[in-house]
Structure formats: C-alpha cells, structure tokens
Amino acid sequence: MYDFEYHKPTSVADAVKILSADSDARPISGGQTLLPALKHRLNKPTSVVDLSGIAELKGIKRDGDKIVIGAMTRHADVANSAEVKAAIPALAQLAGSIGDNQVRNRGTIGGSVSNNDPAADYPSAVLALNATIVTSKRRIAADDFFQGMFTTALDAGELLVAVEFPVPEKAGYAKMKNPASRYVMAGAFVAKTGGQVRVAINGAAACVFRQAEMEKALAASWSPAAVAGVVQPADDMNSDIHGSAEYRAHLVTVMAKRAVAAAG
C-alpha cells in the first residue's frame, strides 16, 4: 500500500471535520473492502480516518417500531443480536450469511451500506425494509440512497451514522452465492411492513433495485407461487465468467420465491 496519514477520531464531528477538509481522505470502518484495495494499491488516499474509536456509532437498540443499528456495528453483532433476531429475524440471518467469520467479525453495516457494492447483502435489506439512513447531517430514505454501482446519496465528508429499520410483519432473504467470491450473485429481500410489500434485488445488476412486478404480485397474494411466474428481464443483469444475464435474471425469480418461503 501507499503511505497515508492515519486518524482515529473519537466523535462523528471530528471525523467529519477531517473528511470535509480533504476530499482524498477516506473513512475506514471494518476495512473489508478498503484494506484489500489499499494492499493492491488500487486506492491512494491521503488520509485514512478510522471510525472504530467513535462510541456513538456502535450498538443496536429497539426504538418503538424500529431497530436502530449504529454504523460501526459488526455483522456478527447484528447476526447474534437478541433484539434483531426477535424483531427482524431475516436481517439477523442476512448478517450471519455475509462472508466468513473473519469478515463478520470486522465488517460493519455502515461500511457495507455506504460502499454499495452491487454484490453486497445489506443494501437489499435496507431497501426492502424501507430503512432510513441517518447521516452526520440528515436523514435519507432508502429509495433515495442507492444511486448506482458503488454510488450513494452521501456527499463528500458526510458520514453514515446509523440505519433505522422499521419492524416488518414479514421479511425473508435468499441468495445465490458467487461460487468463487461467495458474494451475492443474485439475492432477494422481501418484506411486508405496515401492509406495504417491498422486494429488493441485489447481486444481479449494477445496483440493488426494487422489483415492482414482484411487489405487485405479493401484495395481491403473499406466497412463493405469486412470484414464481414473474419473469425478471435479463436486459440490465450482470454477465461475467460466473453467469450470464439470463441466468441471473432466472435466479432473481428463484431467490424471490425462496425469500417469500423463508419469510413464511
């Protein structure tokens, strides 16, 4: 890796100050994406701002009909959280399925959501559960947050602080893993919250997206059979050595079906 300055602020305000002053500074949370990029010299930040010393970014709490998860909360903590398991078991299951033990013990929800890797798990939950992204300066609706491959609504110097998940009536997640990387090749998070159905598809396209046809079908009838007949067009699907666009489009339907079955 190239040399960089290292900062370890203890408050969000201090972190934002450093990041705002230097557009080539990068925050680091769990480091599961940034560190490999640094090691491969694919990224050359002037400064790395380590968020692990900021107490206000950590933790999970139930707040009325919401589960609020701090940005620096590790995947393993979400997976094992009694609050999350009780309120949104599908979210705990999703967190427990990310990467391997090492990744889950380091990686954070804030890092995953801010990075918006098309093959990441969390964005599908954020979008399907209609979560609210709380940042250092505002609140952003999930529908407005994910803007494209590795692109979000976050401004330069703006830090994701927490994610607020409304507790759904039902939710389920299913994914097909890429055989090599075991990132998501195609995944579906389905949720019914306050009578509203949302279906978010991850892994299959350049960015997580809502599957409107499936939402309509599930609103009419919440069952695996309802989505089984919904064909995902292959046009915008990813295609690579692991699978064609056609295959991924097919997997979207299969995973949606399984997610509904998992949701019960």
């Binding site: 491969h40 010299r41 097909m176 055989p179 990387s181 050595i241 692991h242 699978g243 299969v254």
Partner: protein, 793 residues
C-alpha cells in the same frame, strides 16, 4: 535402548512429527528467512499478453529512495531456462524449443512476463520504483487460446516455432489401429476439454539469493520441491555456476502440487543479481503474481474414438490431443501430454491397439506444466467419460462394460500397447469394494427420494490406473528425459543409536518426516522420536531428484531401504565380532542382533556405539562408523489404481451441484501410515472435485487473466467437497522392496470423471451426453433450462 511401547512402524498411524511446528506457527518458510544486509526485489511484469519492448526508461526509478539496482533483459544476458524433456515429432525431428530468458529480451509473451527487476532496501520502495519505470510497449496481436494460435495468420510467438507448434508427436501403430476400427461393430466418438487450472499452493513462491564473494559461493533459498534439480538446471544451464559453488535450500514449503517442481526465472534473477550487488536479495510473490507466474496445469483438447466389438470388448482407441504449453516451455511441460498421459490410455482395460497423437501449442498465456497427476488425470478423464458414453451408446450397463474389459487379476505383469508394463492390480476387487461402500444398488431408491424433493440425483464411477514412482532412468531417458530419475537415501546412525536420514525427496505437506521415519523405526526397532528426516538442502543431502509423481516413498523410500540394508549388514558384522560368531549366523530383528538358535544377543545401541568407539573391533576388515548412502533407480513405474464413486444432487432451479458422497477405494500398494494416506487421498479428491465442479482459468481474447484472484478463481472449500469415504485395497508393487505404489496423486486422477459421470447421470432426462468441466451452476442451469425448453416446444 528399549523397544517402543507403541508400535510406530509400517502400518501404524502416529501423529505427524512436523505438525507441532506447522500448527504452532514455527515453520521455517523461505519468506521467514532473513539474511544480514538483505535487500528486496520486485519484478516488473508485463501488462500485455504480447508486445515488443521498444525501450525501457529506468532513470526516474533508479533515483528513487532506497533503490539499490534495476536490471532489465539488456543487463542479464544469461542462459535460457531449460526444458527437461525432449519430445520428437512424428517425422523424428526434435521439437521446437525456443528460449526462455529470465528477463524479457525485446519481447513479452504473456501477462506477467518479467521485464525488469527492481532491488531496494525495502519492498515498498522497490514497488514504488517499479511503478516509475517507463516501458515503451508496441502491443502485438495475441493468441491466447490454442484455436487462435493454430489459426491461419495467427500471431507468431517465437521465430523458432513456426505455426506456434512445439511438437507434433505420436505413439502407437496407426495402421494396426485403423484395422481395428475397420472391424468394429460399435464406434464411439467425442471431443472434450480438460480445463486449465491454477495450482494455488498456500505458500506463494519466494526466493532469496545470497552470495559470499570471499568464497565465490552462491546460495539460493527457494520454495522448491526439488532443490538438487534446481541446482542442476540453474547452475548448469542458466548461470553457469558449478555445483560446488551453488547451494540450494528448500526449507519448509507450504504446498506445491507440482507448481514448485520447475525452475523459475525469479530464482535465477535473485541468484544472479545478488552476486552483482554483493548483497542478499529476497523476492516473495504476492497472490496476484502467483496467479500470473506459477505454471498452470492441464489445458488439453482431445478428440477420441473407441472401437468395440458386438459384446462391447474394446478393440482400439484413437486419440488426438492439442496441448497448451503457454508462452514458454516450463521444465517438464513437454512430457505431460505425451509420456505422462498418452501412455496411460490403456487404463485398466485390455484395449489391444492404441494410437495417440499430441500437438503442443504455444499461446500468449502463462506456461503450463505438471499439476497434481500431470497427464494422468487428463488420460483418466478421457477414458472414463468415453467408457460411460460407450455404455450409453451400446446399451451395455456401465459396470458390466468395465468388467468385460478389465485386465484380469491373473494377467499381471501386463504389457499395454502404449509402452508401460503394469506389475500388479486387482480391479474387480476395488470395484466390488467401492460399489458396496457406496451402496450402488440402493441408488435408485435414493434417486427417487431426491426426485420427490425436486432434486436431480446422479451417481458416477471411475475405474482408473495411474503410473507414478517416477521413474526408471533408462526408460525415461529413452523417452527424452534429460535427467536421471533415481533417488538417494543416506542413513546416518549416530553413536548412541539415533538416526538421521538424508533424503533427496522433499516434503511440502506430504508428511515425509513421519512416514519415512516409520521405515527406519520398523527396520531398526528404535522409537520414532529417535529418527529425524533431513531434506531440502543440497549441502546436507548428498543428491536427489525431489518430490513429484508420487515418487518419494516408492523411489526415495526404496533408496532408504537399500541404505538400511548396508547398515544392517555392517552392524551384523560388528555384532558377529562381539559375539564371536559367524556373520552368517547373526540375525537382526527390530533392534536385536542374535546368534541364531542361541540366547546370545546384542542391542542396537551397543552396536552403534561400538561402530564409533571401535576398541574391540574388526578394524582390519571393516571401517568404523555406521553411515551409508544408496542410490535407487526403480525397475519400473508403479501403478496405483482403484475405483472412485461420486453421488451428486443437482438443484434444477439454480444448477448448483452438491456432492453427497464420495467413495474411494484405492490400491496404493503397501500402506505405511494409513492416516497420512487417507489425508493425501482426501486432498487429491478435493482438488479433483475442484477441477470437476469449480475451478477454471479464464483468459479473455486479449490475454488478460479473468480468473486472476480468489474473487474469480473458485478454489474448493470444505463445504464443496461433501462426505469422503476413503479406503485402500492392497496389492503389492512387485519391483520395489517396500511393495509401495504411491498415494499422492490418485485422488486428483481418479475423481474428476467420477464427478462428471455423476453429473451427466443426474441430467439423464435432459438429453446430455457430456458436460465440460467445471460443471458450474450457471452451466448446468443452461443445460437444464434448454432441456426444459426443448421438452416444452
């Protein structure tokens, strides 16, 4: 010395002596070694698959902090990295053998080819400087597949290899072969690909060059499976350093699977440059470099034809293969598709005539060479797929077809039509044992139960043989090997009776420090803790050819037996003197010398001490000391074989294959340590399942490696492998003193066709004859989906 309480000799499974070191992080790998005043090298590698180098500007890089030296091809004009096996064309002319300079000379031929070496005080400084070197490339069209390299007007890699052909070789009598086909009732024909693999040893390659100008002594520490071979190849052919001035050390090595047999450019570069700068130089590959510079494996395309009579007896086999050599000839590349593969095409069958031809092709890819099994997995995959397809085509049951064509257990020694003479085997028995373990007869019920759950079950079998224990030197030499393939064992009995064994083989995960020590324990009757195995250092071990081709026990162990014979003979003479008996009357059995038929005995330790304290000693007749060396040249290859059965379940919705059960019954000859054999076979099967279901090396048309990291190259994980049941069925090798055959490669050789036969069986309702490896979820889903569409239309 007391006899061991717990039996630790041949057939016991003591825990591996090396594991405390490895599992507690105390191994001593090449990158763990640091020499005083050491510098660090970074290789600047070509980003292009094929380009002319118009200029290299190192001025800016040379001025950067910490830079000690930068060398390019213009500086390092030395010998070519040699190829160790000469193959002849059909017309008798020698193969095309273009040079392989350690540093590119005016042209790069694959992504990863080395253009310059940067040596600096630290590795980051060397890397920074490497990025500052400006190379003026004229990018040339690349030929990255064999089809592209053989096409009319293809880009030419080497002036000395017209048409990008290395050789066009054959074996067998074509006229006899054609006559067999003319009489055939059934002919089965098909084409298949043996997919290209990237070895991925856990420890990346590394090398340290060290030079002492006061003695003109060069030392190379390297991640090698055969340090003496590296000394020979690099010393004699590349750098012209005589053996007595070149020491090669291969310390603990973290896996090789063949990829660390070969002499690599980086070894020559650090050895050469260390003498230039008069300082030690360390180079350690990162994983990205490993992907683009370790020799890859397999990569054959084969057309095969099998002739049968009415009853399905095999009458003749005709095989045409094109084999990818990559951009340069790696050390043993040329032997893999020819003498390590085509000679195995009889398999376990009595096919009377076999003709095989192999065209070896240069492409703008990483060199291809031996990888676990080397040629034998390719032959086995071809044969065992062909037999299954023949069964389907003729309507003869696939087990019955195999049984009808097996070489009978009473037909050994058996001369095949492709040069080899098998010494022993019992294919009916390994088949029967495997069928029972796998509950073959109960499969239909399991298939129906799976179908009721919407899953596709399949079962597949492979009855295979391989040739290892490489190799009789005269035979290998006649076939083009440029080295002898004997092995060396030295037994050094110390005055107190403990033993150091110096072996020319090398352990890089196989457990030799335990298995080889068990031979000594068994013979001398001393505890395992009293025996140490020394390997991997040309200054400590007299000579050796290293470890590959499952040869360490069959050849290296046999050399140890010969040396132990000499020790026992001498020890008996000493004992005879002490007991005032004739040497012919002195028996030795596990630690005790006894005058036959009497209670007069001498213990092992007493004789050892006497040899070194020769006060009462037949000094006129024998020398003091108890230290013997033997060279063992095998009389034949060894022929492990057996039966592998794989049961899979495919999810038709995703195309994902789950290995439910994998059963192996292997005849590896006498088993020295059953635990280690089981582990070796398990590892081989995991790699075979990897080849069959997961792994493949992908290049794009421009020669960029698409599967250049673990993000895209699918290594098998524990949950991919399923439940393995590994057993052995012994028939003894008849020509080596231990009766051993070898177990290192059988898993990787026998398993891929068992897996693919199972996959094809699972897809029986979809009109599938063959599935190319790897049978990825996407590939299988497309097959299933098009089958469904066909059914719907």
């Amino acid at each position: 010395m007391n006899a061991p309480v717990v039996f630790e000799g041949i057939g016991a499974s003591p825990k591996r002596k090396e594991d405390l070191r490895f599992l507690s992080g105390r191994g001593n790998y090449t990158d763990d070694i640091n020499r005083p005043n050491q510098t660090y090298a970074v290789m600047l590698r070509s980003p292009h698959a094929h380009a002319a180098i118009r200029g290299i500007n190192t001025a800016a890089a040379a001025a950067m902090p910490g830079v000690v030296a930068i060398y390019t091809g213009g500086d390092m004009v030395v010998g070519s990295l040699p190829c160790g096996w000469l193959i002849h064309n059909k017309d008798g002319s020698p193969m095309n053998e273009p040079g392989h300079p350690p540093l590119a000379q005016g042209k790069v031929r694959h992504v990863g080819d080395i253009v310059a070496v940067v040596i600096a005080e630290t590795r980051p400084q060397a890397r920074d400087a490497a990025e500052a070197i400006a190379v003026d490339y004229e990018v040339l069209p690349a030929a990255t597949s064999m089809a592209a390299a053989l096409a009319a007007g293809a880009p030419l890699l080497h002036e000395g290899a017209p048409g990008n052909v290395c050789y066009d070789w054959h074996i067998g009598d074509l006229a006899v072969n054609q006559a067999a086909f003319a009489q055939a009732k059934h002919v089965v024909e098909f084409e298949l690909v043996n997919n290209r693999l990237i070895p991925n040893a856990m420890e990346p390659r590394a090398a340290i060059g060290d030079y002492d100008r006061t003695t003109d002594q060069h030392t190379l520490y390297t991640t090698s499976q055969n340090p003496h071979v590296i000394r020979l190849l690099m010393g004699a052919f590349v750098l012209q350093i005589p053996e007595h001035k070149l020491r090669v050390v291969a310390p603990d090595v973290g896996g090789g699977f063949g990829s660390k047999i070969f002499h690599y450019a980086e070894e020559a570069i650090v050895t050469w440059a260390a003498a230039r700068i008069n300082r030690p130089i360390k180079w350690t590959a990162d994983r990205t470099e490993s992907f683009m510079s370790d020799a890859h494996g397999r990569d054959h395309v084969t057309k095969a034809k099998l002739a049968m009579d009415e009853q399905g007896k095999f009458l003749g086999l005709h095989v045409s293969t094109t084999a990818n050599m990559g951009a340069y000839l790696s050390t043993f590349a040329t032997s893999v598709p020819t003498y390590l593969s085509a000679t195995l095409l009889a398999g376990v069958y009595t096919t009377p005539t076999i003709y095989a031809e192999v065209k070896a092709v240069f492409t703008n890819t990483v060199p291809v060479d031996a990888y676990r099994g080397a040629g034998r997995p390719e032959a086995t995959f071809l044969l065992e797929r062909l037999v299954d397809i023949a069964a389907k085509q003729t309507g003869i049951d696939k087990l019955e077809l195999r049984r009808r064509n097996f070489i009978p257990a009473d037909a050994f020694p058996y001369q095949t039509p492709v040069a080899l003479q098998y010494d022993s085997g019992d294919y009916q028995s390994t088949l029967a044992q495997a069928l029972k373990t796998a509950d073959w007869d109960g499969f239909e019920a399991r298939r129906k139960a799976a179908a009721a759950q919407g899953k596709l079950r399949g079962i597949g079998i492979s009855t295979y043989i391989e040739a290892c224990g490489i190799a009789p030197s005269a035979v290998a030499g006649a076939l083009g090997a440029r080295a002898g393939l004997y092995e060396v064992g030295a037994i050094r009995v110390h005055p107190t009776g403990s033993v150091s064994v110096l072996t020319g083989t090398h352990s890089h995960g196989q457990g030799h420090e335990t298995t080889l020590a068990q031979l000594v324990t068994d013979r001398f009757g001393i505890p395992l803790s009293q025996v140490d195995i020394v390997h991997g250092d040309t200054d400590r071990v007299p000579f050796g050819m290293g470890t590959y081709g499952s040869r360490s026990l069959a050849v290296g162990g046999s050399a140890m037996v010969k040396a132990m014979d000499k020790i026992v003979l001498k020890a008996r003479r000493i004992a005879a003197h002490l007991m005032e008996a004739s040497v012919d009357d002195v028996e030795f059995d596990r630690g005790t010398f006894r005058v036959a038929g009497t209670d007069k005995t001498k213990a092992w330790g007493e004789i050892a001490l006497t040899a070194y304290v020769p006060h009462n000693y037949p000094i006129e007749e024998i020398e003091p000391g108890l230290d013997e060396t033997a060279f063992y040249d095998p009389k034949n290859f060894t022929y492990p074989g057996g039966c592998h059965i794989c049961e899979v379940e495919i999810d038709p919705d995703t195309g994902h294959t789950t290995v439910i059960n994998f059963t192996a019954v292997d005849d590896v000859g006498r088993v020295i340590n059953p635990m280690i054999v089981e582990g070796q076979v398990q590892g081989g099967i995991a790699q075979g399942i990897g080849q069959a279901l997961l792994e493949t090396c992908s290049y794009d048309a421009d020669g960029q490696l698409l599967s250049g990291s673990f993000m895209d190259y699918t290594m098998p994980r524990a949950d991919d492998v399923g439940t393995l049941s590994v057993a052995t069925h012994e028939t003894l090798c008849t020509h080596n003193p231990l009766g051993v055959k070898g177990c290192g490669e059988v898993g990787a050789i026998g398993s891929p066709p068992a897996v693919i036969n199972a996959v094809v069986d699972a897809l029986r309702d979809y009109g599938v004859t063959h599935v190319e490896m790897p049978a990825t979820p996407a590939k299988l889903w497309h097959i299933i989906n098009s089958g469904r569409r066909a059914a719907a239309e």
